[in-house]
Symmetry: C2
Subunit: 340 residues, 2 copies
């Protein structure tokens, strides 16, 4: 049976939302869960839930990594952090994947230190799922694990994103696009122009450059970019959604008829917000690490944690890491050999 | 009297929207306008408007640059394009600024060829204005003129953005932010980390790194980035606004009560869309060229053209180019000397 470790100490509201999300995932999907964190605090929250018969265990970890800490230092020095203990369980004790809403950099550095990256992969990438107009989600990567990239990194991201899309969303031949500033092959910066050539040769359904405006349209399944651009894009989208909602709210409070309209349209607004809600999509997988690792937003609620556990479970079931290794091997890509 | 040349052949609906926008600007603001383009077509549209007593003249240009053409080639070869003729009028015949909704790259290349850049500026930057939650617009630059930048280019963009914000929006001490992926000084890619140091020394109100989510909040007046990131950010924002509107429309059609709500809330929606409408903000100034140049979206309507003419007029009135030169000179920045 697949067992997922949940870092109980990561989010802004830890361990309450982690415990609640874990209880929901265990009850709803029957997933076995190990909650890792300060056991007194975890047990205290657990007692407020009905957990009878649920496959949940608790493993103690004395230290907590905060959002402000330097990733590298926290990973190296905090030998008993909840993330480090979870990573060790994944390495040694039959845990298949971990979920954390903590410091993304520290989670990545810790898992990289304890388990390493897949032998074929140069750089793990942080991926995220975005809603689109056509309903099907789109995968964007890298969204922050690698701020300065070389062209062959983007090629590796593309292949990992392709595997992710096929395994988790069941898309047979994902359309992979390169985020750039014009559709023509020749448009872009030095990095994307070089990457374009490698992607054209890669055994994926590469549809060429896509622009920022295409991300949400639903005509591309995997969008590849360097981690700086991806992180800006992701945070801008989050910010714009908040702004849009706030501005709409202001407008709708201005007149009586707008207020009446708002009451009638309320359910539609809720449904709309739900579609844009990252928490429905189950966090951001860190692709390319040995061991499935799903990162959630620090502001996650229990629903986000539950969905991330579900996604971690699917990653394990579909053996995404094995498939990534196989794909890379087929291509003759190996870390030592490099590409491009 | 300030005279503005309008490239009548640039937009998707040229010359109809250009002529209409010019007529509106002349009538509403009393700005003198030279419409440059194929005179038969321009006069034909002009006849459908009441232009009696308005300060509008027409100058013929036989060639048109399309959106698909290579910017450099079009600028070099089309010696009688509407943009080229407009640029020549600006160089030789008392025209203070030009407005074009045509191929942005070609407009920039043409003006650069005919008039050149300000002696102090290394690279002209394309800037744009974005609405914010607090009502005050924010300036984002570069949004596409320079895809690969060096740190000292970002410093120059910051200074030009600062002048723009003070001159046109009357902000006394604009808050200038560097678009990055974390607020801490140490966050960013190689480019922004270096640029951060120069910006800290620059005589502007540099508030440090800002993230994508901050752009629309209204807590920063000028946001600086390389042209690749800026262009992705701009197009993503446009795409997300379209997606948001489409999704909301879908939700609001789903049930009868939502439809009723929609009717009541209709006016609020319109007002909301207006706030997000780029056409209200009057196009994207190309900063750093000799001669005021305002670029508009290819999909501009007459209102967008009218507002761009208004902004071009304000740039002239406030002598923005002179102020940029003075600021650069004060700093001892010159193109030959370079900075950093």
């Amino acid at each position: 049976m697949i067992k997922i470790a949940v870092d109980a100490m990561g989010s802004d509201q830890a361990p309450a939302v982690e415990v609640e999300g874990a209880v929901q995932a265990a009850a709803q999907y029957g997933i076995s869960i190990v909650l890792v964190g300060q056991e007194d605090r975890v047990h205290e929250i657990l007692r407020s839930h009905d957990t009878s018969g649920l496959p949940i265990e608790v493993v103690h970890a004395s230290e907590v990594i905060t959002m402000e800490e330097s990733a590298a230092t926290a990973a190296r020095r905090k030998k008993d952090s909840s993330v480090r203990v979870a990573a060790r369980l994944m390495r040694d004790s039959g845990v298949f994947g971990i979920v954390s809403a903590g410091n993304t950099g520290a989670v990545m550095a810790t898992v990289k230190m304890v388990l390493g990256t897949l032998p074929v992969v140069d750089r793990p990438a942080l991926s995220t799922v975005l809603p689109t107009q056509k309903g099907k989600p789109a995968i964007l990567l890298d969204v922050g694990a690698n701020v300065d990239c070389k062209p062959h990194h983007l090629e590796q991201f593309a292949i990992m994103g392709d595997v992710y899309s096929r395994a988790i969303f069941g898309i047979r031949r994902p359309r992979v696009g390169l985020l750039s500033i014009g559709e023509e092959d020749s448009k872009g910066n030095e990095l994307t122009k070089e990457a374009f050539k490698s992607l054209k040769r890669a055994p994926i359904n590469f549809i060429g450059n896509v622009e920022g405006r295409d991300i949400f349209k639903g005509d591309v399944d995997v969008i590849v970019c360097d981690g700086f651009t991806g992180n800006v894009a992701l945070k801008l989208s989050e910010g714009l959604i908040e702004t849009f909602t706030a501005m709409l709210g202001q407008e709708l409070q201005k007149t009586l008829s707008a207020k009446v309209g708002y009451i009638f349209a309320q359910k539609a607004f809720r449904e709309f917000k739900r579609r844009l809600d990252y928490s429905e999509y189950g966090g951001a997988p860190l692709l390319g690490l040995k061991g499935i690792t799903i990162v959630c937003h620090g502001r996650s609620n229990a629903n986000a944690i539950k969905n991330a556990i579900r996604v971690a479970n699917e990653f394990c079931k579909h053996n995404v890491n094995r498939v990534i290794e196989t794909e890379f091997t087929k291509l003759g890509i190996s870390r030592t050999a490099g590409v491009t």
